[in-house]
Symmetry: C2
Subunit: 291 residues, 2 copies
């Protein structure tokens, strides 16, 4: 199905893509490139790629599909670097968490003859790096593709076929809508987790209170373990949508605070509302409630 697939960035996502492609035997060759010392060889040993390239021009050269599997932070420089090597025979896609900014860079920096398709798999772990790569990471996940008026339809179909090979479900949406939506269901949650950990741990009581931290705190603090640099770059490239969701969250917390302070006995209705929403979301969509 694919002649040569190239992956730049062999971390959790890039490595898992390579493993899934090789497992599905749909590419004649999967090559990879990573700036990290020894990462390319590690990826080879783990079976994530057939061959590791030491030079950026080599990995880009002759690829039918080029996957930019880096976070949003280094993306602009990477697009700039590949611009002089990439030819119209190569379809370029990315996996970064915010799409408006990345697409504007791609449209600014890549030759207009090169097809670019923005992508974002809705999966991940708080653990990063090739060592945690897993060919099943994309199974049944939603994988957003965000075409624009300039997106080549044949390229879009090719990337959609690639997504299906990973075991994921293609979900098309507008880049700006994508950014607004993930700000609510993905970026706001990690900020809520980080603020929780920092607020609780900054308190003088923390040394004693941490002993009492159990499953609830563990769940609510998991996202705080994610990459600080990746989170920063997401916040900077999606600040408008994120601040809007944060305003709604803070407003809801302030209302809750007043009702608790006044011993409002109808608080349980607000809590029941959240319980109902949580049940309906995870029973109908994800079916993974007790994983």
């Amino acid at each position: 199905m694919f002649r040569r697939v190239a992956i730049i960035g062999l971390g959790l996502i890039g490595g898992s893509i390579g493993m899934a492609l090789r497992k599905a035997k749909v590419a004649q060759q999967v090559v990879g490139y990573d700036l990290g010392k020894g990462v390319g060889d590690h990826a080879c040993n783990l079976g994530a790629i057939d061959e590791s390239c030491a030079v950026l021009a080599d990995v880009v050269s002759d690829a039918e599909l080029l996957i930019l599997a880096t976070p949003v932070g280094p993306m602009r420089a990477l697009l700039q670097d590949i611009a002089s090597f990439v030819t119209p025979e190569t379809i370029v896609t990315d996996v970064a968490s915010t799409k408006v900014q990345v697409i504007s860079w791609a449209e600014e920096l890549l030759p207009s003859s090169v097809a670019f398709v923005g992508g974002h798999p809705m999966t991940g772990k708080e653990l990063t790096g090739i060592a945690f790569a897993d060919p099943a990471l994309f199974q049944n996940c939603i994988y957003c593709l965000t075409p624009t008026a300039r997106t080549n339809r044949m390229a879009l179909n090719k990337v959609a076929a690639f997504v299906e090979v990973l075991g994921a479900h293609v979900h098309f949406l507008d880049p700006a809508e994508h950014d607004e939506q993930v700000a609510g269901v993905s970026h706001l949650p990690f900020l809520a987790s980080i603020a929780l950990v920092n607020a609780v741990a900054a308190n003088p009581m923390w040394a004693d209170a941490s002993l009492l931290a159990a499953g609830g705190f563990r769940d609510m603090s998991r996202l705080a373990a994610g990459s600080p640099e990746m989170y920063r770059d997401i916040c900077i490239t999606n600040s408008t949508a994120i601040t809007q969701w944060l305003d709604e969250y803070i407003n809801g917390l302030c209302i809750l605070r007043e009702r608790i302070s006044s011993h409002d006995s109808s608080l349980d209705e607000t809590f029941a509302h959240a319980q109902q929403l949580r049940y309906s979301l995870f029973s109908s969509f994800l079916r993974e409630d007790r994983n």
Copy 2:
């Protein structure tokens, strides 16, 4: 070790206590009482208790250890109800999530000759009811005991021995300190989860955005599935400590919001701080990071 242990309230916690005691074979008899239709029989069938009592006076009668395994909400009425049956031969303990209020009710309502020891196991699930009871629920968990100046030392030792039979680690602390600490590590997290679910789901974008909700949102919304009535009663009986922690959380979120809005590139330092705290907490204390 125990002659007769009585459990009032055969939900997740009461049922799990019964199972753990019977599995450890440390009580000659474990009896139970629950207001819910058929719950006592269900608990018998699951092996959580030896016998279900239909009448409150019968379950209290002759117990060496009486465990009040209800949430904080019905606790005052329950203490009132058992006050006329309970004798100085019975040690009474509870498992409710807030301790100052429960202990003041116990000291007000129980005869002064009856020993009461406040307790709170730092475990649980968002799932409630006898059907989810599990004898291993307390394995390696921290179990708070909150003696006061009035607490009988022999009774305290007996309850501590009971906690160890469950496989839990006894942690003694002052009732007010307990309430302040759990407000941070347990009550604030469930409020953060509820506010997150309600904020995100109230947005007109929710119908589309919910499709993109993945593991991060699932983790951060899990606590929102807990019992609304239990959460309300916790908030009402621990409102001062909870509002203080909420103020710190809201303040931290407001600062974060301003820094995101101004594209502050040192955001990653704040995020790295949370990451470090999360690592240190769960590597040193719980060792359950990847459960």
